[in-house]
Homo-oligomer: 227 residues x 2
DNA sequence: ATCCTAGCAAAAATCGATATTATCTTAGCA
DNA sequence: TGCTAAGATAATATCGATTTTTGCTAGGAT
């Protein structure tokens, strides 16, 4: 994934929306490094747009905890730290546990089908390029929670997912090979969820996160690039 | 609390910051009704500032779930509904339970003192005007959680607190008398927290929310003004 | 009568320029 | 040599005007 790809917006939506999407991608993927100062003028030229859309997009990203805003002193990307990573991991476990249980509790046939579909799409895309797979991977995980009837909770989970995946990117793509391992884990979560076994599904989901988390922690080792 | 008070900013900080604070107050307090369209021009004149600060403040408020942004179609205040209220209540119980336990787990003398102090200030302000008390009430509740070593979780709780208090305002100030009742509940939570009894503190906190919640639900009755 | 569409008015979004604020540099001084 | 203050520089924040986009309305065709 090179930087040019990131700056090219999908071509639809307002300038603000495009800037938002591009900047988000750049931050999550690590193209913009943690703690990096985000100068309006530089971004303006990079994304070929005016200052207003940039500024507004950055304001929106603040809500996602991906950008920090210091009044009168501009914007910078969110910092990373072992503590922050641990916090995200813990919160994901707690919040997704809750969301998944509610989702399963309210299970419907339509929801089950959505989950199965999302899983299938993700599986099929394993061979495709990373970016595409990552999107579908998120969709699968969110599909599991989608039935929780709790928009705010879902928003929190979505945010935490993105914060977490940012660490994945920062740790480098050394985790490519990991995919084979998680295939089974995903399948296990799916089957337990569809079977309506909330305890089992949640247990597998949490273990999935914990294993991936400690794997990542190990990868990041000395936190050389971080704050 | 009249509308003029709300439009007068504290005089410090950037125009964006002032607009943010003012608009936030207006939305939480109900001066701007749920689902109301937020026209830039109107707000610009009301707050005596330019369009850019307004626009940016609204973008910031989007992150707090107090404002909804529809691309190319402007902003509107977040809608309210019984479902939304129930969701907020449930999430508060779950997230604050987690935060409170972590906070107590990591208890220090400094934290205990902060909590006691916050409680005292809130108590002393019972006679003062509503706005002041509300601020201190929030500070007390946040002080309980402040030691959780989890900034993101605290941010979530803070957001949920504001979303909840908005319903309090919308339900009308008919709940003034209620304060006397909650005094005991607050004291109970405080003592359990300071004593380091996480189970008891959490139980009391959750009950506090549930009781207040069902009380509010009753008050709102037919949801006449809502969506 | 209903559906479609062109034109108009209102609002949002964006731009370019200016004012404001922070940051960096350097000269003066103890 | 180290420190303070003034000036220069760079970046942010804000404004006012312009460009798009939307939502509404009236007129015409089916």
């Amino acid at each position: 994934m090179n930087l040019m790809d990131l700056t090219v917006a999908s071509g639809e939506g307002s300038a603000t929306q495009q800037a938002y999407t591009s900047l988000r991608r750049m931050i999550v993927s690590g193209a913009l490094k943690p703690g990096e100062k985000l100068k309006i003028e530089a971004l303006r030229q990079m994304l070929h747009t005016g200052a207003s859309p940039i500024r507004e997009a950055l304001s929106l990203l603040t809500s996602d905890n991906l950008v920090e805003r210091i009044d009168q002193r501009g914007f910078r990307t969110a910092d990373v730290s072992p503590e922050n990573f641990a916090e995200i991991l813990l919160l994901r476990c707690k919040l997704e546990d809750l969301a998944l249980r509610q989702s399963i509790e309210a299970a419907t046939q339509a929801w089950e089908e959505q989950v199965v579909l999302a899983h299938h799409r993700m599986q099929r895309a394993k061979a495709e390029k990373s970016e595409r797979f990552e999107d579908l991977h998120k969709e699968f995980h969110m599909a599991l929670l989608a039935n929780a009837q709790s928009p705010i909770l879902l928003k929190f989970c979505s945010q935490l997912y993105d914060l977490n995946i940012r660490y994945r990117f920062l740790a480098g793509s050394a985790l490519e090979y990991k995919r084979r391992d998680v295939t089974d884990e995903h399948a296990g979560i799916l089957s337990a969820a569809v079977a309506g076994d909330a305890d089992l599904a949640s247990e597998r989901l949490i273990r999935h996160y914990e294993v991936t988390g400690s794997f990542l922690s190990g990868l990041m080792g000395d936190w050389s690039g971080a704050a």
